[in-house]
Each structure stands twice: as C-alpha cells, then as structure tokens.
C-alpha cells in the first residue's frame, strides 16, 4: 500500500541532485576582481588585450588569479582587495593613459569563486539585489511634453525656411504649445502652404480656420509621429546614460526602460555614491543658437536695456551675460562627439566637435551666412540654461568637424568636452525615485537574513522532532529539501534576492510546515480511531492532500497579487513567496511520503509507527505509551 514505484524515487533523486548542484555556487563566496570592458563598440576585447593586461600586472608585481575572457569583457580575480585596487591602477595606466581617450573601462567587481565546472553548467550564485549588495538605484522620468515641444519648435523653424524658399508670404509663424500656427492673408497662399506641408512634412496634420480676417493654418504632429518622437527621445536618453555610466567604471549596470516614459538605473557595488548621483543627476540638454548682436542686444547684455523680442538672456560660465536668439539651430541630437585637444595653429586648448550629416549641412549653411557673428552653445539643466561657450564664426565650416578655441585652459577644455558629450539628451529627465545603500549595510543585511532563516529553521525542526518523533524527523528533512530546492530555483532563474526576499524564505518555511502538520495529525487521528498503521499512513496522506492543495492555492493568490502590483524589494518578496509555495508542495508531500514509504512501506506486519503520542480518550492512563518508538521485527 505505501510503496512508491522506482520512477518516483528516481524523480526525487534527480530533484535532489539538481538542487544541490545549483545551490553549490552560493557557498563559494566572492573574490575581488577587476573587469575590463570596451567603452566604444569599435574596440575589441580579445586575447591581445589579455596579453597586455598580463604584462601590466607582471610589471606591477601582482600575480592574478583566474582570468576569464568573455564576449565583451575580461575578468581577472585576485585574492585580496588590496591586490584588486593595485591591479586596477596598473591596468588603467597601461590601457588608458589619458582619461579622455579611454577605449576601455576598468572597473572593480566582485566575482563568485565557484569553480569552472560549475560555471560551465550555468550554475551561478543568486543574484543579490541592491539592499544586499550596496549600490545606487534611480528611477528617472523623461519629460515627454518637453520633447514634443522641442520637436514642434524645430519644425516651426524648418517650416519658416520652407515657406521662404517657395516664396509663400505669411503674416507670422509661432509655436503655440505643441502645434504651429501660421497666419496668411489670402486663401490661395494658405492652400498652397497646406499642399507644401503635406508634401514636405508628412508628419504634420494641418487644419485651416478663419481668424480675424486672416486665415490661420494650424499644424500639429500626427499621433504616430508624436509616439515615435517619444520613443526616440527615450532611446536616446538611455544611450546617453550608458555613456555616462561607463565613465563611472561600474560593472554590470542596469539601465532599462520602464513603461512609456521612465528609465530605471541600477549601479550595484558602487562605492562612491555621491559621485554617481552627481554624474547622473546632471541631466542636461544641448542647444546651439545664434547670438544676437544688435545694439539693443548689447544694451541688454550690459544690463542697461530690456531683452529684445525673439531673444533670451543667458549667463556664461564666467558670469558674463549673452543674448541669444530664440530659434534653435542644432540640438544635442546632431552632436556625435566632443573631444578636448589643441588648436593646430596656435597650440591653444580647444574643443573638437563632430556633427552628424544633417547637423553638418545645417551648420555649413549657418556659418556661410554668419561669418564674423557669434554662435552660442547652451547647456540646459532643469530648465535653466547656461552658455558653455560663445565663439566667433571665422569662416564657413563644412564637413561637420568644428573646432572651438580661445580663452580656455586645458582643464576648461576637458570640462566643456565632457559636458557636451554627456549633455546630448533628447529630452530632460528628472529623478523621481532614488535609493542608495552603503556597502557595509548590504553585508549586514545578508547576515541578518541568513540568521533569521537558520535559527527559525532550527527551532521548527527541533519542535517537530520532539512532538512527532520519526515522522517529525521526516518532516524536518522535507523542510530542508524545500529550502534547498528554493535556493536552487532562485539561482537557476537568477531572480533577484532582496532582504524582504530572505524574509519570504523564512515565512515560506513557516507555512510549508503546515502541510506536514496536517499529514501527521491526520495519521495520528486514524491511529486513534483504530486503523492499522499502514492504513493510517495511507489515509493520512490521501485525505490531507486536498486540504494542502486548497490552502496553498489561496496563499499563491496573495503571492501573485504582490508579484503583479509590487515593485522593488516587495517584488523580491513576492518572487520568493510564490516559488517557495511551489517547492513546498513538492517537498512536503511527494518527498516526505517517499521517505515514509522507504522506511515503513516494505514492512507487511507493521505494528506501530513512531509518530509520538497517539492519545486515546477511552483507554486508561499509561496505555498512551505503547505506540512510542519503533517496533520492527
């Protein structure tokens, strides 16, 4: 009656084996390591690089541990953190002599010490969340209306030049919110303009309406085009963040889109959190505009006159005021690179800019018409603008390569180049959520979680063994297997483990024991009612199964709700909770029954089972002891 066929034992053994295998990596601990990755897509990480790194380490007198060359990174393990730090300096000096021309990113990291054969099986330790590792977590919100407004602004400029080319006279173009309004005196011109727009600007939707004697043509972005603008703005921002984070030298950063307009950035293991916040927090957008040089503008610059119509006033980094036109010529989208360098003729510090094709064309047109005039490069942070530099245009500049020089030191040239490179965001971003955990707190949290689970498990196991004797021992072993399988599944799935996740582990163990208590109590009851031990075991497991299923499903519903609606650490809790329920159903019923069947199943004339006191109400005192202990032939 209580026999498991061999295939069921085979399943149990396989589950145990796989579970142990995938849990093993968690016990090996972590080694300090240095990670070298490519900062640009054109740079390769290959065996030649490995050779260079080995050379650099030998020269510095450091013997590296294991070296792992992967697709785009080289990881080198060391024994102590001192060695790690020295090695990082040595490698950085050898590979990237000047901080600005760095083709490689050299970062500190912690790598698991698990041996090669385990890694070959894809067995890795659990992925620790930020509250267990330390690090920084940001959620950034992209200001989408701003992106659309900017697009409208640039379209207004394009429209103005298009109408001028076709000699269609209008009475004024201005941007109203996110749509563009053009006024015409005659209907014929309005209709011609409408046809022009439909030809050259397929993204715009036009409507005409009479307005105080004139015809007003309203052009707005089609919803599809609007959505595309938003998607591109988000993608552009993610790329920019990638570049900035590479400069921080963080290993395994996480930069992901969340929803339609949010970006999540996670930087695990970051030691200098203030610097990370500083660099990421500097969300800026870049604009190039012409400087207004009329006499009114000059007066406004000096502060003696009002700002003329169609211009805005900004301050340069040294405090001087600059009056710039409102129309934007180029944005950061068109700037592909900015590097500090030296002027070939005067050997002064200079910044070399590279523009994309569209930017190059626009720039050539503008510089052709404006030799001798000043052009301002503006950086906008949180809506406030600052003039980075406002050089004089000396000649027409084609080909997209621009040099800005004069009145700056090498340090300033470096800073400007960094700002221009990092500042090319398509739309401004705001930090709406932030979490910073220091590294020492992370290690403490792991210890706390581990202790809670361990001591709780010990207490429950002790009680079960005392109360239910051998059956209690089987239940405790099943609980241990539950924990093993849970850790193995988490490691296999590389699900994120957080501190609430470890709490969920403890809770799962507390709830999983319920199934075993149900079974054991049922067996006791059957024995109390006079069933034979084999029949009691059978009945106990059969009857309890339906109840166990129902109660686990209801707990699973709660877990799924948390998974669906939770975020951050709560999601870590929900994942462990749900997985734990599933593993508990396997271990508490299937596995524990396997153990019981192994021990008792073969005995045909079983007299009693060790399940503690089976107290019978009608018998006299003292007979309750007859069932204690084993009774094997």
């Amino acid at each position: 009656m209580n026999r498991y066929p061999v295939w069921k034992y085979a399943i149990i053994l396989i589950a145990l084996l796989v579970g142990s295998l995938y849990t093993l990596p968690n016990f090996f601990g972590e080694a300090p390591a240095v990670q070298v990755s490519a900062a640009k897509s054109s740079v390769k990480v290959d065996t030649a690089l490995q050779g260079r790194v080995e050379e650099a380490l030998r020269a510095a007198g450091i013997t590296p541990g294991l070296m792992q060359l992967e697709a785009s990174t080289l990881k080198v393990r060391f024994d102590t953190t001192d060695q790690q730090l020295k090695a990082k300096d040595a490698i950085q000096r050898a590979l990237a002599p000047s901080a600005d021309e760095a083709p490689y990113v050299v970062a500190l990291n912690l790598l698991s010490r698990s041996p090669q054969w385990l890694s070959a099986l894809n067995a890795a330790p659990m992925y620790l969340g930020l509250d267990l590792r330390g690090g920084v977590h940001f959620m950034l919100q992209v200001d989408m209306p701003s992106a659309l407004t900017k697009k409208a602004e640039s379209l207004a400029g394009d429209l103005r030049s298009a109408l001028r080319e076709k000699s269609l006279r209008h009475a004024g173009i201005n941007r109203n919110g996110q749509s563009i309004e053009v006024r015409f005196r005659e209907t014929a011109t309005a209709e011609a303009a409408q046809r022009l727009i439909q030809d050259q600007f397929p993204d715009l939707l036009t409507t005409t309406s009479p307005d105080a004697g004139d015809i007003k043509l309203t052009a707005s972005l089609k919803p599809d085009a609007g959505r595309k603008v938003q998607e591109q703005a988000l993608k552009q921002n993610i790329t920019t963040l990638h570049n900035r984070i590479n400069e921080l030298g963080v290993a395994e950063p996480v930069i992901q889109q969340q929803g339609l307009d949010r970006i999540v950035v996670q930087l695990p293991g970051v030691q200098d959190t203030a610097k990370a916040k500083d660099i990421l927090g500097r969300t800026a957008t870049l604009e190039i505009r012409m400087v207004e040089d009329s006499s009114e503008a000059r007066a406004a610059e000096l502060g003696s006159g009002p700002v003329p119509f169609g211009t805005e006033r900004f301050l340069e980094r040294n405090g001087q005021a600059v009056i710039v036109k409102k129309q934007v010529i180029l944005t950061g989208e068109n700037l592909t690179d900015a590097q500090p360098g030296f002027d070939s003729q005067t050997q002064e510090a200079a910044v070399h800019l590279t523009l994309d094709a569209k930017g190059a064309r626009i720039f050539r047109d503008v510089t052709r018409e404006s030799v001798g005039k000043r052009m301002a490069i503006l950086l906008f942070e949180k809506g406030k603008g600052e003039v980075v530099t406002a050089p004089v245009i000396r000649s027409e500049i084609g080909g997209g390569r621009v040099q800005i020089s004069g009145r700056m030191s090498t340090v300033e040239a470096n800073d400007v180049a960094l700002l221009l490179r990092a500042g090319s965001l398509a739309a401004p971003m705001d930090i709406i959520e932030e979490r910073t955990i220091g590294p020492s707190l992370g290690a403490e949290n792991i210890a706390k979680g581990f202790n809670s689970v361990t001591w709780g498990f010990a207490a429950v196991a002790a009680f079960m063994c005392l109360y239910y004797m051998l059956f209690g021992l089987f239940s405790s072993i099943a609980l241990g297997v539950n924990l093993l399988l849970l850790v193995a599944v988490l490691s296999m799935l590389q699900a994120t483990l957080t501190l609430p996740g470890m709490a969920a582990m403890a809770l799962v163990l507390g709830m999983a024991i319920d199934a075993n208590v149900l079974i054991n109590e049922r067996v006791r009851e059957e024995l109390r009612n006079g069933a034979s031990p084999q029949a009691a075991i059978h009945a106990g497991y059969e009857r309890a199964w339906a109840t166990i299923l129902d109660s686990n499903v209801t707990t699973l519903i709660a877990g799924l709700a948390l998974l669906a609606f939770g975020s951050g650490p709560v999601r870590g809790f929900a994942v462990v909770h749900c997985l734990g329920i599933l593993t508990s159903m396997f271990s508490a019923v299937f596995f524990s029954r396997g153990l019981v069947n192994l021990w008792y199943g073969g005995q045909k004339r079983l007299q009693s089972v060790s399940i503690g006191t089976v107290w019978r109400a009608e018998t006299s005192a003292g007979s309750g002891d007859s069932s204690k202990g084993l009774n094997r032939p």
């Binding site: 932030e434 403890a506 709660a558 799924l560 609606f565």
Partner: protein, 316 residues
C-alpha cells in the same frame, strides 16, 4: 507528546454570538483609530527623503535635530533606528532641490556637529511615485480579495467564500488598527506582510471548511452545529501547532532580522495570532449564520439513497 487531549467536541458554536460581538467591537474600535490617528505612512507612500546615519557612539538626537533645523527644515523627524548609534532622518520633499543635494547638505550639517556621522543609506521617493505605490497596494488587496472569493466559491460554495473573506479581512483591519494605534511605521514590506497574512489566514478557514465537508459526508445524522463543532475540535491541534511553528520563524525574524524587518515581522505576528481567532471562531460562525447545509457541499445526496430509510438495501 500530545498537547491536545480532548475527550469531547467542544461546543464552540454555542458562543458564536459572543465571538462575533467581540470581533465586531474590535472592528469598530480599529476603524475609529484608523480615522482618528491615521496610519503612520513611510516615505515610500508619502514621498520625501529618508536618510540612515550611523555614529561611532550613541547619537545625540537633539543636537542632530537642531543641526538640521538650522538648514531651514521646520518639520523633520529624527529618531533612533535599531541601536542607539543609528539615526533615521525623514525629510519632506522640497520643490526644486534634488534629494542628492538635500542629503548632502544635511550630512554636512550633521558632520559639523559630530564628525563621526556616516551615511549608510538614503531613499528618495518623488510624490507621484508615492501615490502610485499606494494605488498599487490597494489594487493588490482588491485582487487578492476577489481571487480568494472566486476560488473558495469554486471549491466549496459561495457562503463559505463570503464567510472566509469577511473573517480574514477582519484580520487585515486589526493589523492596520494596531499600526494606527501605536503609530508604527507602515511601509511597503508591511503591506506585503498584510497581504501574505490574508492568504495565510484563509488557509485556516479552508482547513476547517474541508473538515466540515468531510463531516457532512461521514456523519449523516449530525446537525450543522454539531458538525461544525466537531470540525473545529478535530482541527484545533493542527491549527495551533502550525501557527506556533510559523510564529517560531517569525520570532527568529523579530530577534535577528534587525530594524528593517522589525515592523514586517510585527505585522506577521499580529496576523498569525488573530488569525487563529478569526478563522476558527468568526469564519465558521458566519458560515453557520449564512445557513450552510449538507446539500451545499454534497450534490448527489439523493441519488445515493437515504441510509436512514429502513428499507434501504432491501431488494425483493
């Protein structure tokens, strides 16, 4: 070892009215506290900045408070967190100032007062994210309630589903009441604990209902009250032992989990203790009052023939 030497079915349902009266009174008290004192919501729900600062010796809270007030923050909460050396500072959200700047300025002021101040972690939640988290929490609660009602209606019968959910929402409200009364911090992990308790609490009711169904099948002649009493008496040992074991795990969390998990473990403890009361007494009593009968659970009673019929089995 056997803790539950029970000779006869304990007549629980005789006192059903008293039990339900007690739970109704506690429910009303809790609602009163929720409205009068309100929940002490954490930064995650209200928005704002949270900083945890560690000192090398027990911190002087008044000094820290003054240092921060000097920066212009009128209403700042400064309290000990875990040990006497750890301080938790809660700053309200200020427009135009990023949390990075806020936390740095505050840390600077604290360091001036006591140079050993060290920042262990900061959390900043923008107000719109806070609102969203609160809304998500409520949606999760609604999802769980609906899910459980549907599942129980499917497995047992609608009366059982309604009884179970009323009894167990009662648990949830009691936890919220404790948190409102003592003004303990209500954070996201506590919300997770509350939802976990709801799922766990329904377990108890399910075990009893399952036993009731089995008793309906087994004891054809017993009336509903007797069946319920028997069901509760038979399962009381399992209920108390399971709750005891779960409480052992939660106790371990309370002792070793540190300050971060403290309120989470506290919410679980309250839920586990009151869960026994609500699931055992309240759920069964409400089910009884809703009028559960044998026919609700066993569909084919008539076809099997009435065993009380003296002619049953006789074939001529």
């Amino acid at each position: 070892m056997e803790f539950f030497k029970i000779r006869r079915d304990i007549p629980f349902m005789r006192n059903a009215l008293a039990f339900n009266a007690v739970s109704l009174i506690t429910f009303l008290a809790v609602v009163f506290f929720l409205f009068s004192r309100g929940l002490h919501l954490s930064v995650e729900f209200t928005g704002g900045t949270l900083m945890e600062v560690a000192y090398s010796q027990p911190a002087d809270l008044t000094q820290a408070r003054n240092a921060i007030a000097a920066l212009g923050y009128a209403d700042v909460q400064v309290q000990n967190f875990g040990t006497a050396r750890d301080v938790l500072i809660r700053l309200p959200a200020v427009k135009g100032v990023s949390s990075a700047q806020q936390s740095e300025k505050v840390l600077g002021a604290l360091k001036q007062a006591d140079a050993s101040a060290e920042l262990r972690r900061t959390e900043f939640v923008g107000p719109q994210v806070g609102d969203e988290l609160a809304a998500d929490g409520l949606k999760a609660l609604a999802f769980v309630v609906v899910g459980i009602v549907l599942y129980l209606a499917f497995r047992f019968e609608w009366k059982f589903a309604v009884a179970a959910i009323i009894a167990n929402l009662h648990d949830v409200i009691i936890i919220l009441g404790f948190f409102a009364f003592f003004q303990w911090e209500f954070s996201l992990p506590v919300l997770a604990a509350v939802l976990a308790v709801l799922g766990y609490s329904v377990n108890e009711s399910v075990v009893i209902f399952d036993r009731i169904r089995e008793n309906f099948r087994r004891f054809r002649k017993m009336d509903t009250v007797g069946i319920i009493d028997n069901a509760i008496t038979s399962t009381i040992s399992r209920t108390i032992i399971t709750h005891g074991c779960t409480q052992l795990m939660v106790l371990s969390m309370l002792l070793f989990g540190g300050a971060t998990l403290y309120y989470f473990a506290l919410a679980l403890t309250i839920g586990i203790l009151f869960g026994i009361y609500s699931s055992v007494f309240v759920a069964a009593a409400i089910a009884m009052w809703l009028g559960i009968r044998r026919e609700d659970l066993i569909k084919n009673v008539k076809k099997e023939g009435d065993p009380d019929d003296p002619n049953a089995g006789a074939v001529v």
